[in-house]
């Protein structure tokens, strides 16, 4: 098995993270924003996995499981909020929901 160089995985993670960030910043649909957040989370998870395999430690994988569970919880709550959000504003555009501004 050919070892994938560490840098490749990190670059991949960085690209994924940036993709997620750009998606978060450019998309106005809250559903897509949630997805972008997921991508960013997974990018972070990827770095953990890579690190874990690089140093042959289980910690990184444990962290990834944490992230995974947290992400699922977040999606559960987030989707529920999105449903309420849609009911209230009849749109999924986040800019419409700036009622909490100071």
């Amino acid at each position: 098995m050919v070892e994938i160089p560490l840098t490749h995985s990190i670059v991949l993670a960085a690209v994924l993270f940036l993709l997620g960030l750009v998606g978060l910043l450019t998309r106005r649909n809250i559903l897509f924003m949630l997805m972008s957040v997921e991508i960013m989370l997974n990018a972070a998870g990827l770095v953990f996995i890579v690190g874990s395999s690089r140093w042959a430690q289980a910690d990184g994988q444990v962290m990834y499981i944490f992230i995974l569970s947290m992400a699922s919880a977040e999606v559960a709550v987030g989707l529920a909020l999105i449903v309420q959000f849609y009911k209230k504003f009849n749109t999924l555009d986040t800019d419409a929901a700036s009622k909490l501004k100071g």
């Binding site: 910043l25 986040t94 800019d95």
Partner: protein, 632 residues
Amino acid sequence: MNMADLLWIIVAMPFTIFLVLAFLGKKLSANLTAIIAISGTGTSALLTILLGWSFLGSPPENYSLSSHLWEWMNAGGLITSMSLRLDALSLVFIFVITFVGFLILVYSTEFMRNEEGYARFFAYMNLFIGSMLILVLADNLLLLYLGWEGVGLCSYLLIGFWYKDPANGYAARKAFIMTRIGDTALIIGLFLLFTEFGTLNIADILSAAPEKWASGDPTARLAAFLLLGGAVGKSAQLPLQTWLPDAMAGPSPVSALIHAATMVTAGVYLIARTHTIFELAPLAQNAVAIIGATTLLLAGFSALTQRDIKRVLAYSTMSQIGYMFLALGVGAWSAAVFHFMIHAFFKALLFLGAGAIIMVLHHEHNMFKMGGLYKKLPVIFWTFLIASASLAALPVISAGFYSKDLILWETFASASGGTQLWFLGYIGAFITALYTARMVFVTFFGKTKIEPTQRPGLRITLPLVVLALFSFAGGFIELPHTLGHVQVFSGLMQHALPHLEIRDVAESSELVLQIITGLTSLIAVGAAYVLYIRRRSWTDSIRNSTLVIQIHRFWNLGWGFDTAYDTLLVKPIVYLSRINKNDVVDLISLGLSKAMVYFNKLLVYTQNGKIRWYMATIALGAILTLTISILL
């Protein structure tokens, strides 16, 4: 009954009547109100005469009576009580207050008959008489101050009695506030005396003062000047005199009682009462004489130019009190009190007469619109004439001659007086006779311009006649060496007030001076006769020159004091308070809250509610942090 017990009954009577009228005034009929109103002071007057009789007949120990009622304040070394003390000086005062007060109340029952607030008027009048009695009977300065402020209050209430006219309210407030300025000086004087002596009991202070202070001691001088401040305010002397002419806005009986006979002489009483302090402060005592002499002249000139008959009398009152101050200032204590008494009789009479005239002439105050009244209103004319003779000090036949002559002679002869002061008083006597004669001639002689609507009734004329009797005969209880040498009054006064120190003057000069002053007042009357009856054209031609018009206006407005106070004090203070109505200090906290709101606005931009914006800033922040941590 114990004589001392009479004292508090005399004081309590008017207060009781005040309470009765204040609580029940609305429910009583006018006649009943009138009877109740005069009963209290009437009783007090009777009791005073009774008390005076026994006081003179069998004088008590030390020539004083005292009656302790209850302890007023007792804290931190300050012990004052509600105690009354009667001596010869206060006896004269309570006699005048109750007796003249009673006559004026009788007069008022008819005079005020058709006015709204009949009961209110008498309630105030009784409150006044009660307070005035406290003032002169108080055995300590604090109680005196209570009476002092009480009479000031009544003066305020009665000047503004016809409250619907804002001008009356203005005059009332002016009177109260100007006298309050003097009162403040007085109360500071009280603090000083209390700090020095640890007591406010008058007798204690007067007996301790000569031991504590040498003559001319600066503290004594300060105390005397502070007391003088109070006296000057209450007695309408320079420089706090401007309220008195305006105070004529009140009903005429008020002017007679408060602003002629009693309250305005409270200053004279105060100085006479605290004479020891003034004797220890020669500078202050000289100031009293100079203030008196100046006021009597300024007010005399002003009286000469007034057209409103009550304002003539007001300025005349100022001028006559000036004589009393002059007498006090040269140490002629007894003469001052004597003039006070005579003045109370004739000036009350003049005001009551003027009030009656004004009443029957449709509230006309301008005497140049009156005229020819001597046939229409004979009783008023004759009584008014007697009082005027007293005011003008016509020799031998009038009471005023004896009191004023006594002052002039003692001013001349006093160790602290002298020719200059005498001369000022002498000029004043001439002017007094001149304006008095002018007033009488213009009002009663010449053509009738307004027909009187009615003849005043018995309740108005009777007090006039009684007062006329006193204005005529009152002088005979104190006659000079040269004319009979009767010394009833000064014989009484010597128990309360010290003797005059006479400098070395020739015996004969007394007679010479009497003849001079007597002739002078006759000449003045003659001059007025020529100017206002015989040769009206002369007066007119004199009055047409510009200089005379200027001076006339200046005098008429009371030597510009009002204008000066207005521009120097009243206007700046009113202006200052108007521009600072919203309180500059508030700007500090207002500025703080404004700054808070401003910073809040700044921070609000960071919370615009747009999630993507938040994300961008988070990302930016993360990048920034990373960069900084890598670079460093």
